[in-house]
């Protein structure tokens, strides 16, 4: 199949992409019967500017996927027909801390045309969905002494517990530990472990380098 980026076609509009927090689905307005392509990119990055690259990376694919599929490195796409939109009341997310963009498309004679959004409404076709995460940092202590005379003393370690939902789609370095003047990147392996321990005299802080990851107090 041939993949072509086409200019805006008013009769095939798709716009007003937004995240319905109650259903946790992406919803949008589109022309009656219009199928769309939802493109997921890193938080804050516009898919509109990447469409040419995405079209190039799609060449060789026999058709558009109806599940989220990775293309062009850090982008995922999913095709949603008008019937799917109606049945599912939108399109499910593929994780937070991402920007989603909606494009209309049409397939004719083995040519798939992906239509650019109208210049004026390029903000309307995307929705940036941050992820709010809560990271627990606790000082590890142990009890010395017996009974009433015992007391809890710090071990010199801090435990850092990551939320389970952070594992999917995480890019190494999005989060970092700040220990004094040192910045230590958090890796996917650390997230998979859920709880890590750091030896430090001062309580470490977790800092987000990804504006799509917001650390809740």
């Amino acid at each position: 199949m041939q993949w072509i980026c086409s200019p805006y076609e008013p009769s095939r509009y798709a716009t007003n992409l937004r995240h319905d927090k109650l259903t946790n689905m992406l919803v949008w307005d589109s022309a009656p019967g219009q199928s769309v392509l939802i493109v997921q990119t890193p938080f804050g990055q516009s898919a509109v500017k990447r469409m040419t690259a995405i079209c190039r990376s799609l060449s060789g694919m026999p058709g558009l996927p109806n599940q989220y599929t990775e293309v062009a490195g850090d982008s995922w796409i999913i095709a949603v027909s008008a019937a799917d939109k109606l049945r599912n009341k939108g399109c499910p997310l593929n994780g937070c801390a991402s920007t989603y963009t909606v494009f209309s498309y049409s397939i004719e004679d083995d040519v798939c045309r992906i239509y650019e959004p109208e210049e004026r409404v390029k903000l309307f076709v995307q929705a940036s969905i941050p992820m709010d995460i809560r990271i627990d940092i606790a000082q590890e202590c142990r009890r010395k002494g017996i009974g009433f005379w015992g007391k809890s003393t710090p071990t010199g370690f801090y435990s850092i517990t990551f939320p389970k939902e952070l594992a999917g789609g995480y890019v190494d370095g999005d989060l970092q530990f700040r220990v004094g003047d040192f910045m230590i990147p958090v890796t996917s392996q650390m997230l998979a472990q859920r709880t890590v321990f750091i030896k430090s005299e001062r309580k470490p802080a977790v800092v987000s380098q990804n504006p799509g990851l917001r650390i809740a107090d």
């Binding site: 008013p10 509009y13 716009t15 007003n16 992409l17 937004r18 995240h19 319905d20 109650l22 919803v27 307005d29 022309a31 109208e118 004026r120 409404v121 903000l123 309307f124 929705a127 940036s128």
Partner: protein, 519 residues
């Protein structure tokens, strides 16, 4: 049984059997009774001397009665507003001016000779609810065009049978009032269904409004209302269930009034009744009035006029009693929020919320509950309130000081770019490029339904209005702060007195309780 009708034009009150009617029968051209060799009736009277002169004259006078003519009361009403804005496409096709049709008054004996007596021995045709709906001429024409007996303006069919609520849409010229009303009317049945209500927008008046103010991609937008004119009110009905087998129908009347009239001393008295009788006000703010936005856009408008309009509205409603707040609910709405410069100033978070549709509260059986979805509205209200408080503090203070019930809304009636074109005669016009996707235009109306008690809410509605401080003893909302020198009072405790701090007093003369109010 009689129905009390309040005219939506002059607010005169009358019973349903006191309304007048415009004749369906309109004569044109020359009367066939006039002999050929006479020019007109005057010529006939002067020069005809046969025995059948009286008979022919009577016939000529009856013919003349049904000629189109100027209606003095009607013209007197519309003279205040330059001229009438009444149109009737059906009459236009017949070549008849609707407001020049002869008036028939069943209480005038001279008119009664043309009327057919009905089975109930009156001249009135009544509908299934017993309300007077028409009269019948002896020549067979049934006249259903009711008009007010005071100003001779048309009353829509069935108007007066149900309770009526009046709402006024106010805004500066160009804020988008006509487009807003047109979009609201067109989509009202769908919007009402989302809050468990049924809207009926099939009055002739509403159909004419929609036909004369169409909103379609590529078609010119309605022109701004010329200065001094008064747009025809539009009517729609809302039906709601009040019990398993009961329902209530209410009529809503929407007025489109330019805000500038309230700051013009010459015009304020003409338009004041449309505020005095309002059960709710929708105030549209053109976003170009906000300093931050017009700095980006380059076009300079000002919110000064809006604050002046709010002061004028308050003065009208309070009749000069400046110590009283206006009790009419006022929905303060920022229109055209789809403009790129507006999006830039409002911010991504608020704009994301404004892109969303207004959702109803699902009852679980596929229908929606008669509930204002405050759960979805409150985050928007908070953002808008913060925006206005930080960027247009004078407006926020004006509202807080003078109005008891107000809320902020934002919407786009078109949801698309507006292009500029030129007609064949060189006249410029604006048109919506499309697709037309209005967003959240119904929300201020839903809030008004909530304030009027038609629907409930799923959580307390965020309000920026100053909270009413009630007396803890008698519950009166009429309370006042105490001056500093009266804030320490001595209270007797057994054999000694104790100073107590108080800062609030109840204004109820039978109570006069003093206490410390902690917000």
């Amino acid at each position: 049984m009689s129905f009390s009708i309040t005219c939506p034009y002059c607010f005169g009150v009358m019973k349903d059997n006191e309304v007048l009617f415009r004749s369906e029968k309109v004569n044109a051209g020359e009367c066939e009774l006039l002999p050929d060799n006479f020019l007109d009736t005057a010529d006939f009277i002067a020069n005809y001397h046969e025995d059948d002169k009286d008979e022919i004259l009577k016939g000529l006078k009856d013919w003349d009665f049904f000629l189109e003519r100027e209606d003095e009361k009607y013209e007197e009403f519309w003279k205040k507003f330059v001229r009438t804005t009444e149109v009737n496409p059906a009459d236009e096709k017949l070549g008849i001016t609707p407001y020049r049709r002869p008036i028939l008054d069943p209480s005038v004996s001279e008119h009664c000779r043309f009327l057919k007596i009905q089975p109930d021995k009156s001249f009135f045709i009544r509908d299934s609810d017993g309300m007077v709906s028409g009269i019948e001429l002896k020549t067979g024409e049934v006249c259903h065009r009711r008009v007010c007996k005071h100003c001779h303006n048309p009353l829509p069919a069935a108007y007066g049978k149900q309770p009526v609520k009046f709402a006024t849409v106010v805004g500066i010229t160009g804020a988008g009032k006509t487009v807003y009303i047109s979009q609201l009317l067109k989509n009202m049945p769908d919007y009402a269904a989302n809050i468990g209500l049924t809207a009926v927008v099939n009055t002739a008046n509403s159909r004419i409004f929609l036909d004369t103010n169409p909103i379609h991609p590529g078609m010119p937008l309605p022109d701004s209302t010329p200065e001094g004119y008064f747009q025809q009110p539009v009517f729609y009905q809302i039906v709601r269930e009040t019990g398993e087998n009961d329902r209530v129908t209410e009529m809503f009347v929407l007025y489109d009034v330019a805000g500038e009239v309230f700051v013009n001393p010459d015009q304020i008295s003409r338009y004041a009744p449309y505020i005095e009788h309002s059960d709710g006000i929708v105030m549209l703010l053109d976003p170009l009035q906000f300093k931050q936005i017009h700095q980006l856009n380059g076009e300079l408008q000002s919110l000064d006029e809006t604050t002046a309009v709010l002061t004028a509205i308050h003065n009208i409603v309070s009749s000069g009693r400046s110590e009283q707040k206006c009790q009419i609910p006022i929905a303060v709405c920022i229109s055209k929020v789809d403009l790129p410069e507006v999006q830039e100033v409002l911010g991504a978070k608020l704009c994301g919320m404004l892109k969303d549709d207004v959702y109803g509260v699902d009852s679980g059986d596929g229908f929606f509950l008669p509930i204002f979805n405050a759960e979805r509205y409150n985050p928007i209200a908070k953002e808008l309130s913060d925006f206005i408080l930080h960027h247009e503090r004078a407006l926020a203070m004006q509202l807080r000081t003078n109005y008891s019930f107000y809320a902020f809304f934002a919407f786009t009636a078109l949801g698309c770019e507006v292009g500029s074109g030129e007609k064949e005669n060189g006249e410029p016009f604006k048109y919506p490029v499309g697709p037309i996707l209005p967003k959240r235009i119904e929300e201020p109306i839903f809030w008004m339904f909530y304030r009027l008690g038609y629907i409930g809410t799923n959580e307390p509605v965020t309000t920026s209005a100053a909270a009413k401080i009630k007396c803890p003893v008698c519950g009166s909302e009429a309370t006042s702060p105490l001056p500093a020198e009266e804030q320490i009072i001595k209270v007797r405790r057994f054999i000694w007195t104790e100073p107590i701090y108080v800062n609030r007093v109840c204004d109820n003369p039978d109570c006069r309780h003093k206490w410390e109010y902690i917000p």
